[in-house]
Symmetry: D2
Amino acid sequence: MADQPLSFVTMLGSLRKGSLNRVVAKALPALAPQGVKITALSSLGDLPLYNADIQAEGFPPPVRQMGDAIKQADGVIIVTPEYNYSVPGVLKNAIDWLSRLPDTPFAGKPVDIMSASPSILGGARAHYHLRQSMVFLDALVMNKPEIIITFAAQKLDVENGKISDDATREIVTKNLEAFAAFARRQGSGG
Amino acid sequence: MADQPLSFVTMLGSLRKGSLNRVVAKALPALAPQGVKITALSSLGDLPLYNADIQAEGFPPPVRQMGDAIKQADGVIIVTPEYNYSVPGVLKNAIDWLSRLPDTPFAGKPVDIMSASPSILGGARAHYHLRQSMVFLDALVMNKPEIIITFAAQKLDVENGKISDDATREIVTKNLEAFAAFARRQGSGG
Amino acid sequence: MADQPLSFVTMLGSLRKGSLNRVVAKALPALAPQGVKITALSSLGDLPLYNADIQAEGFPPPVRQMGDAIKQADGVIIVTPEYNYSVPGVLKNAIDWLSRLPDTPFAGKPVDIMSASPSILGGARAHYHLRQSMVFLDALVMNKPEIIITFAAQKLDVENGKISDDATREIVTKNLEAFAAFARRQGSGG
Amino acid sequence: MADQPLSFVTMLGSLRKGSLNRVVAKALPALAPQGVKITALSSLGDLPLYNADIQAEGFPPPVRQMGDAIKQADGVIIVTPEYNYSVPGVLKNAIDWLSRLPDTPFAGKPVDIMSASPSILGGARAHYHLRQSMVFLDALVMNKPEIIITFAAQKLDVENGKISDDATREIVTKNLEAFAAFARRQGSGG
C-alpha cells in the first residue's frame, strides 16, 4: 500500500503571474515524496462567472475538464491567497462550478490547503472558510500540518520558483508526506 | 435628521435570471420607508475575474462605476444566496475588485445583508463569512434584524417579483426601517 | 470488519435538566445500528473552569476520567445547543481541558455533531465553530448527514425522551449508520 | 464631545495568573488617551458554568455585578487568548451568562477585541468567532486597528506588566484612541 503511486493536482487561487502562491504551487513537485506526482490544474481564469442559466445550457468545457482532472486525481492541493479575510472570489467561483457537476468531483476526495501571504497572518483566515465549503462538498480535508506561510515575500525565491526559507521548505515537505499517507488511508477518493 | 432622504443600492449575489434573491432585491424598493430610495447596482456579471495583472493596467470600467455608485450611496444592501456553505464566488469576486479601488468604497459604509434559499437554513452561513470580509473593509454591518429567508420558494411570488409571505414581508420591512435609522446614525457612509 | 462492535460516547453541551439536546442524546442508543453501543459521558458540569494554574497542580479527576472514556471509545457524538451564535461555553470549556491532556483524546478520533434548537436555524452556527476547534485537535469530523434539528420543541417528546418527528428520527438513524461506517473506516480512533 | 470622559472595562479571557493577555490588559490604563479610564472587570472565574436551571433560581451575584459594570461602562475591551482555534470556554461561558440578563448589557455597547499568543497567529482565530457572538448580542464591535499580538512572549514585559515591544505598544495606543473615538461616536452604549 505504501508503494502505491499517487497523483495530486494543485488548484491555484490567484490569477496573478507573479503570485507568491504560484511560487509555492510550482515548488511542490520537487518536494513531493517518492511515488507522488503533482501537476497543476488549468487556470481558474478559464472559467466564466458561475451562472445557473449558463449551466442549464451545459457545463462550459473548462469546468468539465477540471472536474475530470480532479476525479482522476488522488487528492487536491489548494494553494491560495486570502482576499478580504476570506477565500478569493476566483477560487470560490471555481468551487461553485465544480460543485454542480453531476457526480461532484470533491466528494470523498482528499484535500490539502496551503496559503502564503506577504503579511503577518499568512492567509490563515481563508483556510477555515474553505474548510466550511468542503464540509458541504463532503471532501476529506487533512487537518495537519497546516501550511500558512506568513511574510512569504522573504521566504520564497520568486525568480526561480522555489521555497528559499529552510523551515518553510521543511514543513511543506512534511505536509506532502502527511498528505500522501492521508490519501492512501482514505483510498484514492473512494 | 429623521427626514434626511437616503439612497441605498442593492448588490445581488446571483446571476441567474430566475433567482429567488433577485425577487427579494426587486421587492425592496416598494417596502422601503418614506424618504428611502433603493436602486440596483449593475450586474456583478459585468466584472471579470479578479486578476492583479489586469488591475495593474487599470481598473475595468464596470469596477470603477460600481465603486462610484457605492460611494455615492448611503448604504449597501447585499442580497445573496449561499453557495457551498459560503459566499458565492461571483459576489466575493466583486468585493475583491471593489476592495482594491483607491479610497475603497466600503470603508465606513453602512451594509445590510439578506439571504434567501429554497432550503432549511436560508443561506445563513453566507452571512457570517461576508461579515468577516466586511471587518477587513471597515464597513459598518447592521446586526439586526437579520434577514434569512428559509424555504424561500414558498414565500416569494417569483412571477410578480414580490414577497408573498406576510411574516417575511413584515420582517423585511422592519429591517429596512432599522437600516435607515442605522445609516442615519452613522452619517451617510462618512 | 462490518461486524466489529463499536462503542460511542455522547458529550452533551447543555447542563439544563430539561434540555432539548439532552432528549436527543438520550434517544440515540435506541436508534443505533446493531453492534453499536452508545453511552453518555459524565456531565460537563463536573469540570471546573479551565485554568492553567490548576492544570499545573494536576488535572482534576473528572477531566482525566472523561479523557480516558473518550480514548476508549470508537467515536464521540457531540450533541449541543448553540449559545450566542457559537459553541456553549460549557462545552468549549470541556474541550479546552481535554485538549491539554497528554496524549490528547480527540486526536484521530471520529466525531459526529448534532444540534437541536427551538428556533429557526437549529443551532447550525455552533457546528462550524466546533469543527474549527476540531481541526486543531486533529479529530476526524464526519461531514454528512448533518443533524440540525430546527424547531426542536415540536419534534421531540421531552417527557419520554424520544424523537417524535418521523423525518427527524429517520435522518438521525441514517446519521448513526453513517457514523458507524465512518468510524469503522477510520479504525477505532487510530 | 471630544472632551467627554470615558470609562472602559476590560474582560480577560484567561484565568492563569501569568497569562500574557493579563499583561496586555494590565498595560492598557497607562496607554489610554486623556480622559479615558480603563478598569478591570472581576475575574470570569467567579462565574459558575452556565446552567439555565441555576438561572431559573436567580442570576448568581457575580453575573449581575458584571452585567451592571458593563452597563455603566462606555465600552468593553475583551483581551483574550485563543484556545483550540476559538474563544476560550471561560470567556464564552461569561458571555453566555451575561447574554441572559434582562436588558442585556452588550446590546448597543462598543466592544474592542485584543488577543495575544506566544505562537505565530497571535490568537487571530478567536476574534472572528467572538465577533459572530457579538452579532447576536447586538454589540458594536470596532473593526480596526485589530490587535493581534503574535509571538507575545517576546513583546511583553511579564514581570512589570508592560508592553515592551515599541511597535506593539504603538498599535495598541492607536487602537485605544480609535476605540475612544468609536465609543464617542456611538454614544455611551446607548
